[in-house]
């Protein structure tokens, strides 16, 4: 289960999307997410879905790799659909649309992290949100926290596996029985995980402070700079967004 977490993982290839500036990708993803909520007719939904497929092809990340990491998301999606059917007694199209929107949102955000290194993602966020610094928001610290969180997902997943193996070796019965039993069996896994996560955080903070983190100065090994591809990408994104708005305006 945990082994297959691809959420937030970087998939190294050299595609057009990988080469873009992280800010372009973030802006694109945000606009795309907005467009997903604008689209409510079959035609506009089809357009947004086609755009997503095109991006997935462009990323050159194998489809299987993307799907594998989304296993936990499917469960949530089924829940939402069921709730919609029973509580809002929505039409078939409505339920389909909501499921489709969730798929699109999950995939677009997954595409951003798959094609962007955590470090450049946080650099991008830092630069794009620098104006928040005017309101005393610690943008640099938040961006650093984000990149560290992304970096430690696989490490903690590995560790969870070790803890589970250790419990199994001593006769624990994980992953069997009813859902309630399985949830209960997770407690002895989660407690040592928390303890070790805090210990790691402690060590990491020492390592960071000893390398002068918090001295107030910030430099960059590779400062972000827009290239020609980014201009092209922005034109495509804005065109797409304009099309979606026009479709909405035309009542489609």
């Amino acid at each position: 289960m945990l082994r297959d977490v691809t959420l937030g993982r970087y998939y190294p290839t050299s595609s057009f999307l990988h080469g873009l500036d992280p800010r372009t990708k973030l802006a694109g993803a945000v606009l795309y997410a907005v467009s997903v909520f604008i689209a409510s007719s079959p035609i506009s939904f089809a357009v947004s879905f086609a755009a997503l497929c095109l991006l997935m092809l462009l990323s050159r990340v194998p489809l299987r790799y993307m799907l594998r990491g989304l296993a936990p998301v499917w469960a949530v999606m089924c829940m939402v659909c069921l709730l919609n059917i029973f509580i809002h007694s929505g039409s078939a199209w409505r339920v389909l649309l909501i499921a489709g929107r969730m798929v699109e949102l999950v995939f677009i955000s997954n595409l951003v992290t798959l094609t962007t290194k955590p470090k450049s993602l946080s650099d991008g966020m830092e630069k794009a949100l620098r104006w928040l610094g005017l309101f005393k928001v610690p943008v640099h610290d938040l961006a650093t926290a984000l990149s560290i969180a992304l970096r430690f997902i696989p490490i903690l997943a590995d560790e969870a596996r070790h803890v589970m193996d250790a419990q199994k070796a001593r006769g624990a019965d994980l992953g069997k029985g009813s859902i309630l039993n399985r949830a209960r069996a997770l407690a002895p896994v989660l407690v040592p995980m928390f303890v070790s996560a805090f210990r790691r955080a402690d060590t990491l903070s020492i390592a960071m402070e000893s390398r002068l983190y918090g001295s107030g100065k910030v430099g960059h090994l590779r400062p972000l700079a827009y290239g020609r591809e980014d201009a092209a990408a922005y034109i495509c994104i804005l065109t797409y967004f304009a099309v979606m708005i026009l479709l909405k305006g035309a009542g489609l």
Binding site: K117, S147, L212, G219, L221
Partner: protein, 272 residues
């Protein structure tokens, strides 16, 4: 004048691991091994040398002047910790080594040249673009050392940096440390392994937060009573010397490696 000097430093800590009345001098290009068992205060000493914690009493002199600015001390003293995974900040080797220079606020070209130089010195140039998760423990520690020396410190403090490594990784890290020291870097190495401590130019034995012995490896390890009472062992060579002495074979003080002992014994046998 010593690069760093601790004078009567105290740092009380409940349940072991504190320091009491520790005085210590670290010379330029010196190589000090701090030997001690669990809870002897090694990690606390490492953190004090890096100004991550400040002692409750006592003075810290840098180049003979009392230094109060923690950042100024951290700039002069690099720190490498025990756990290879938890001290990596970034997702590629390059970015991790760049973390320190970035916090110095340097220009991109300067950061890049420091990264390249540090990786070169540690002999891991070819790992620059790799993800830390695909490295061996020894390689990860070399990256951590590169990250520390990219700040151009005068002194490197290693807090049990080899204790989680396999023999090959340990060899790699120790040889890198030896090279750095040869190039004039001061090294302070916290360890519980007497064999490692014997590589240093001087040894300090710490027990319950106190400096109980201090001197050249041959003096510290050659002490009549041994180090058992302080919870640390002595290196194999010194055990052998002691055994030989008990059976009436006296060796000169400078015969401090297995090879030298073998040669000396062969020489004596042939001489007889």
């Amino acid at each position: 004048m010593a690069l760093i000097e601790l004078q009567n430093v105290n740092f009380p800590f409940h349940g072991g691991g504190g320091l009491s009345d520790v005085s210590l001098k670290i010379e330029r290009a010196g190589f000090v091994a701090v030997l001690g068992g669990n809870g002897a205060g090694k990690s606390t000493l490492a953190k004090i040398l890096n100004a991550l914690i400040s002692p409750t009493s006592g003075r810290i002199l840098v180049d003979g002047r009392e230094e109060k600015d923690a950042y100024a001390i951290r700039r002069k003293v690099g720190l490498v910790l025990q756990d290879p995974d938890s001290q990596m900040v970034a997702d590629t080797v390059e970015d991790d080594v760049a973390f320190g220079p970035e916090n110095l606020g340097l220009e991109p070209e300067d950061i890049e040249s420091r990264v390249r130089e540090s990786l070169q010195i540690c002999g891991i140039k070819e790992l620059a673009g790799r993800s830390p998760s695909r490295l061996s423990g020894g390689q990860k520690q070399l990256v951590a050392i590169a990250g520390a020396i990219a700040m151009h410190p005068d002194c490197l403090v290693l807090d049990e940096a080899t204790s989680m490594l396999d023999p090959e990784g340990r060899r790699m890290v120790l040889s890198a440390i030896g090279r750095l020291n040869g190039n004039g870097m001061s090294v302070v190495m916290m360890t519980h392994d007497p064999e490692e401590a014997a590589l240093a130019k001087s040894v300090v034995v710490l027990d319950h937060g106190r400096v109980v012995l201090e001197g050249l490896p041959c003096d510290v390890f050659g002490a009549e009573n041994g180090l058992d009472e302080f919870g640390v062992d002595i290196p194999m060579v010194y055990k052998l010397r002691k055994a030989l002495k008990n059976s009436g074979v006296f060796l000169d003080k400078d015969i401090d490696t297995m090879d030298k002992i073998v040669k000396e014994l062969e020489r004596r046998r042939n001489g007889c």
